[in-house]
């Protein structure tokens, strides 16, 4: 008996060591709901033909997909649903394939604030959105890949008046999105840094209602020249710095006040593609584009206009830009009070 107990204790000792090694995480191996805070790990691939494979019904949850995939058929509404009012959710390290949506949260307005972080997840083949999060207080997505979806990421916050409302999109790759790659709405601040947007079919980024956006060191490319844009900002402002844009009809379109567009590299679609290409457009119907500083950009649009100021563009300044190679006109100014501050190269 003593020998048996010793044997059992040894086994238990090994067990204890291994349990520490995997840090006591809770295994998930089939569809279900996560109803308690904690650290969960997916221990096998999950495939679902219907229903929602993973439902998060608690705050303070980390879900490590552990290199595994959750795959959904065309009638699976979302692969992972975060229910309201749960917050502080982290999802990482795996694949979400198919379904209508990848990760979804639809919190009602007035939600006290959800914090969601997604890291190193590959999304592919969603019929709708890879990620859609409503009323997020903070949202972060890093080192992810999104391929072949309708919309890449749609995130909305409670509005720019809440200084905590923030969005951070860093080091991702988003490609083959038939509509918008990023849709960022109603937050106080947004950082979009070091991402690659490939094969943009409509818009690389649509930003509305964000007062402090920093969009820097991203690469935007499109093989569809007409009707495409790299960044469309409506009622928003920020710093658009050191990005490269290739092949879009409009690379940057800003309707808002007080932005700075600097150090970017613009290459337009081929002249034969038609349309009305512009590297930068300020102002649009119903929204002014005012007091924007446009400097140190390199613009080579082949046709159309390098800088286009609409009738709703006022008091903007452009200087130190290289505007050669536009094919059409370097600057098309239909606004008022827009100033060539010098040192532009035409």
């Amino acid at each position: 008996m003593k020998r048996i107990l010793f044997c059992a204790c040894v086994s238990f000792g090994i067990v204890g060591g291994i349990a520490r090694a995997d840090q006591g995480r809770i295994p998930v191996f089939q569809p279900g709901a996560l109803t308690q805070p904690g650290s969960y790990v997916l221990t096998r691939d999950i495939t679902a033909a219907s229903g929602i494979p993973i439902v998060i019904q608690a705050s303070n949850i980390t879900l490590d997909l552990n290199g595994h995939a959750i795959t959904g058929g065309s009638s699976v509404p979302r692969l992972i649903e975060i229910q309201s009012p749960y917050t502080d959710i982290r999802i990482e390290n795996g694949r979400l394939i198919g379904g209508i949506k990848g990760i979804h949260m639809n919190a009602p307005a007035g939600n006290p604030g959800t914090s969601v972080s997604i890291h190193a997840v590959d999304f592919s083949d969603q019929i709708g959105d890879a990620v859609s999060i409503d009323n997020a207080l903070s949202f972060e997505m890093t080192s992810c890949s999104i391929t072949n979806v309708d919309y890449g990421v749609i995130v909305s916050g409670p509005g720019p008046s809440d200084p905590r409302a923030s969005i951070r999109i860093v080091g991702n790759r988003i490609a083959q999105v038939s509509l918008d790659a990023l849709t960022l709405l109603w937050a106080r601040s947004a950082l979009v840094y070091g991402n690659v947007f490939s094969e943009v079919s409509m818009r690389g980024m649509y930003i509305a209602g964000i007062s402090e956006a920093l969009i820097t060191k991203n690469v935007f490319g499109s093989s569809v020249s007409t009707g495409t844009s790299g960044i469309l900002m409506v009622d928003a402002s920020g710093l658009i710095l050191d990005n490269t844009f290739r092949g879009m009809e409009t690379a940057v379109w800003v309707s808002g006040s007080g932005s700075r567009i600097a150090g970017n590299q613009f290459v337009g679609p081929p002249a034969a593609a038609g349309g009305s290409p512009s590297a930068v457009i300020l102002g649009s119907s119903g929204y002014n584009g005012d007091r924007t500083l446009i400097e140190l950009n390199k613009i080579d649009m082949h046709s159309g206009c390098g800088l286009r100021f609409s009738t709703a563009a006022h008091d903007n300044i452009f200087r130190l830009n290289t505007l050669r190679g536009s094919g059409g006109l370097a600057v098309c100014d239909n606004g008022t009070g827009n100033t060539d501050a010098g040192a532009n190269v035409y």
Binding site: A8, F12, D22, D45, T147, E199, R246, N264
Partner: protein
Amino acid sequence: MSMNMSMKRNAVLGLALALCGATAARADEGRTPIYQPAVITQPGSYFLARGLAVDGQDAIVVAASNVTLDLNGQSIQGTAGTQSLIRIVSGSTSVRIRNGRLVGGVFSIYYEHTVSPPIHLHVQNVDFVNMAVMALQIESAGHVDVIACRFRGTGTGGGGVQLQGTKVSGRFTDNLFSDLALGGVKVFGTREILVRDNMFSGVGGEGLFVGAGQAVLVEGNTFVAPPGGLGSWGIRMEADGALIQHNVISGYATGIQLGSRGSRVIENVVRNGVAGGSGAPGIAVYSPAGDDLVFRNQVEGNTGCALALGAGTGSVVYRANMLRGNGGGGVCDAGTGNIDGGGNIL
């Protein structure tokens, strides 16, 4: 008594084994272990459970899509006669490889055939050591991320990354390339490429070569040629519309060479170009280049010209550069219609 003892013994032993079994499953958290040379034929999450050494055969063959391979801190070591340490079979895509060391072999990771479907590959935190030809050779690339890896050759052989394709996008960030005689990163058929915050130390041939394409951002990298004249180009750019900024380049026959249109070269330091003798320029722009902007660079200590504009170039604008202290002079312009935009220090 005997029966009771036996039942108790079995109960205790059963409990121990049950715990052991249950926890063993949790120890690898549902991932599939690899402990000998293997062919992966199913999607899933795999990890290397021990180091592998191979002589003449491929260590791991990936013959499925949606595979995550965690090298788990282990090494795969091959002799010089080993073609590939990890070979990815044509048609496999969405592969992630991370966290380990690949030593020796002709290729460390190899995706075969230029006619294969383009692969999506993510490689992170992998050490590539002493490859005979190329660490990462992808014959048909769609999108490739190489993040936080270290590449170290023998000094007289080995190269970093070579990607071929027609629509190649990718991110190369936070890597170290050292002692590579056959070049650092070569991309052919470029679409959207981001190369940021890498160190190229003792890299011969081309530190970075980007072939025909558009939308490239090269920023914040350091390129240092090896001694003995093995370094030919720090950056050789043949993609249109590239943004090359904030790099340090030292010791190459040509620091930066543009053979493309509409690029912007700004705020780089290019120095000590001695490897090519008196013909070694700091920055060279060759036909069919044109409409490029060379702005605010510091080019000094090169044996050739600071800025060489070849025959057939036109509309290249250079301004506000510091071009003193080069053996061949400040600007050698054999083109037509190139423009001194002022502020250059000769």
